[in-house]
């Protein structure tokens, strides 16, 4: 479903991604790990079309379409979802209104009628249950005054609402307490199917204990320098990144 080939991208003229290659197929879970500042969030921003980044080389194919040619909203409509590392607050805009607009924009793109108020509220209720999101949060302004953990839970709630084909979870585990981690990860698992795929960006094995990856990649200085199975994450957890740097001849 996703094919990234030799992707280079820069911000303010500074190259951050230096040739990423990655193939994701339906039903798969890929974990991306890597030291701070290696370009993990940059990769998610570039894939979702953040205007601050410039793609200087390479291509991204998503279900046969040239992803990079699509507007950010059409990438979303095509089924690409990002759970932000730092979710944004939008004061005065209620979650209900926000999600309603989002869901109906997606329906419009797919040639469907907007949901009626009743159907929409029913859908909200259903999806809230998946991540046990408090009704009080759902009736507040988007992320405004939410705690760190509440924001992350709210991201996965939105994922449930939009039913993406490919979700990128950028450090969704950070900020979640032990119980919340279990609940939110459980939510992600409930949403998993043969047809969709997940890219999990994380620093810790604890999330991967819940969301079992098929592949683990190490992103370092803008490149995927190592890929492997679930055991790679365990090894990283134990040994850190120095051994990889050594392999690369850096140390």
């Amino acid at each position: 479903m996703l094919k990234i080939t030799d992707l280079h991208a820069s911000i303010n003229g500074k190259e951050i991604l230096k040739g990423i290659n990655l193939v994701v197929k339906p039903g798969e879970v890929h974990a991306i790990m890597g030291p701070n500042g290696s370009g993990k969030s940059t990769l998610s921003a570039v894939l979702t079309g953040h205007p601050a980044y410039e793609v200087t080389r390479g291509s991204v194919e998503f279900y046969g379409k040239d992803l990079l040619a699509l507007s950010p909203e059409d990438r979303s409509h095509e089924g690409l979802f990002l759970s932000f590392q730092y979710p944004v607050e939008i004061p005065g805009v209620s979650m209900v209104n926000f999600m309603r607009t989002a869901v109906n924009e997606q329906r419009k793109y797919r040639g469907l009628e907007p949901l009626s108020a009743t159907d929409f509220l029913k859908l909200m209720r259903e999806k809230r249950a998946i991540v046990e999101l408090d009704n009080k949060l759902a009736s507040r302004s988007v992320n405004e005054g939410f705690s760190g953990g509440e924001k992350k839970r709210n991201e996965i709630f939105q994922m449930a609402m939009l039913e993406p084909r490919l979700s990128i979870l950028d450090e969704t585990d950070s900020g979640l307490d032990i119980d919340a981690l279990r609940i939110v990860a459980g939510g992600v698992n409930k949403l998993k199917s043969e047809k969709n795929a997940t890219i999990v960006i994380t620093h810790y094995q604890r999330l991967l204990d819940y969301i079992a990856p098929d592949f683990v990649h190490v992103l370092y200085k803008g490149r995927i320098v190592k890929s492997g199975g679930p055991e790679l994450a365990l090894e990283l957890e134990e040994r850190g990144y120095d051994w990889i740097k050594k392999e690369l001849g850096e140390i």
Binding site: T48, G49, H50, P51, A52, S71, P72, E73, R75, S76, H77, F81, L82, F84, P87, V88, E89, I90, P91, G92, V93, N97, F98, M99, R100, T101, A102, N104, E105, Q106, K108, Y109, P114, A117, S141, V142, Q158, L162
Partner: protein
């Protein structure tokens, strides 16, 4: 109901242009251009006015001639040739219509296009509507029902004929013709407007509403609204305005006077959407308006809520004179400027009585190359023990070429007063827009959402019927302003 479907509102909005810019092809009775004593006599005579009103006009005119146009506002106002304006234009009808069936079909079409089908309004929403086209009040709906309660809601001209004592007693009592340049001009040439009287102890059961529309070319509109709320009464009043797209500028100089007696409450809401001019700044309405209310009685309350999206130039400071003890004044404002629009707007809160309170919330939103200024005065007179004021003015910038300015004035003459002022300026956040985009919401709708969220505190003060329209307006007037 539409109200519970904000999304539909956003989806509805596709028009990029000013959608009220049509001209109605209707026979209009326009008097020659220019301003003179003769013209004023002519207007007065056309309207069959009593002698005292003609005197009032002539005094105002004599005073106006001694004045020069004010230039203290943060506005660039081109020279206005007051002799090139026609001061009276009325849709031609043989006689004042007695029922809806008698209203000129073209005129009714106009109001239909504006989304105010008079019949619908009458039947469904329970809002009484007075529609002022060019200078003349076309029709007041719901009169009979209101009359049962003793509520008077009619055109200003009718009020002069039917309730001369009330008009005489209150006309100019809050906004004197000597108040300012435009007030003097209006007092000399005003042609019509609305009159409201709520008798003692009556809660007006429906929103009263006036739609103003300038149609004819080369005319000015000078309407007057006078609202009197007697002891223990309540009324919520709505005002909406639109105009056709024309290349030349048109002048709108209105006066609104409100008198609030003991324990009475008046809510006055405006959605101002006069034609703002085109993208290059050509054409548009000059909106120079004097609005003031007097909280005359103890425990009286006056709230102004305004959503200003239109006009090439806006000069407007709805104010409260808090004369009665424990009286309360409120001002909630959203002013949007785009392209080359200029707005200088705010309020004055004059604390005279004891324990008076005032609240000011102003949200300025500027885009394009527009200039948006908040100008407010909080004045506490020596006798105003324990006066309280809270002022918050926020500015949101949508482009780097626009300007937002804040001019808060304070004049505190009693040291028991507590006056608070908060101000913020922010730029629309690219990350907020991207967050919306990522969820599938296109940038224009995202801006609409974010801006409506930003203005929510004020929008919430609007009556339901207006809130929907106002949300759409915010969205439309900012289309194409970010990106």
């Amino acid at each position: 109901m539409k109200q519970d479907n904000p999304n539909e509102i956003l989806n509805d909005v596709t028009a990029n242009e000013y959608k009220y810019g049509f001209v109605t092809d209707i026979e209009t009775d326009i008097i020659p251009k220019g301003l003179s004593e003769d013209i004023i006599r002519h207007i007065s005579q056309k309207k069959g006015e009593p002698e005292w009103l003609l005197e009032f006009r002539l005094k105002a005119y004599a005073y106006w001639k001694t004045l020069e146009m004010p230039h203290w506002a943060h506005l660039t106002i081109p020279e206005i040739d007051y002799q090139a304006i026609s001061y009276y234009a009325a849709p031609k009808t043989k006689q004042a219509p007695k029922s809806l069936e008698e209203v000129d079909p073209e005129l009714r079409k106009t109001f239909d296009k504006l989304g105010i089908s008079l019949e619908e309004q009458m039947k469904l929403s329970g809002i009484a509507v007075d529609a002022v086209m060019d200078s003349v009040s076309v029709r007041t709906t719901f009169k009979e029902k209101l009359a049962e309660l003793g509520v008077i809601f009619c055109s200003f001209s009718e009020a002069v004929k039917d309730y001369p004592d009330l008009v005489k007693r209150y006309l100019g009592s809050v906004v004197s013709y000597r108040d300012n340049f435009f007030a003097a001009l209006n007092s000399a040439v005003f042609s019509d407007g609305s009159f409201v009287y709520i008798p003692k102890g009556v809660r007006c059961p429906m929103e009263l509403s006036t739609y103003f529309r300038i149609n004819a070319a080369n005319t000015g509109q000078f309407e007057r609204t006078l609202i009197v709320a007697d002891d223990d009464s309540y009324v919520s009043y709505l005002e909406g305005c639109t105009a056709p797209m024309r290349d030349e500028n048109q002048l709108h100089a209105a006066i609104v006077e409100i008198v609030v007696h003991d324990r009475a409450e008046v809510k006055y809401s405006t959605v101002q959407n006069w034609y703002p001019g085109d993208k290059e700044g050509k054409g548009g309405i000059y909106n120079f308006v004097t609005k003031r209310g007097m909280c005359k009685g103890d425990h009286s309350k006056l709230s102004w809520t305004q959503v200003e999206t239109g006009s090439a130039i806006t000069w407007k400071y709805p104010s409260c004179v808090l004369a009665g003890d424990h009286s309360v004044g409120e001002f909630y404002s959203v002013a949007v400027t785009n392209n080359y629009q200029q707005a200088d707007t705010g309020t004055k809160m004059i604390h005279i009585g004891k324990n008076t309170r005032s609240t000011i919330v102003s949200k300025g939103i500027s885009a394009g190359r527009s200039q948006n200024s908040y100008r407010g005065l909080v004045k506490v007179l020596p006798g105003a023990e324990n006066a309280r004021n809270f002022t918050q003015c926020d500015s949101l910038l949508l482009s780097s070429d626009c300007g937002a300015h804040t001019f808060p004035y304070m004049d505190i003459q009693n040291d028991t007063a507590i006056v608070e002022h908060e101000a913020t300026t922010s730029k629309i956040n690219e990350d907020q827009i991207f967050y919306c985009n990522q969820r599938g919401i296109p940038t224009e709708d995202a801006v609409g959402l974010i801006v409506n969220g930003y203005a929510k505190e004020v929008m919430n003060k609007l009556p339901m019927e207006f809130a929907v329209e106002a949300q759409k307006l915010l969205q439309i007037s900012l289309e194409g302003s970010v990106g």
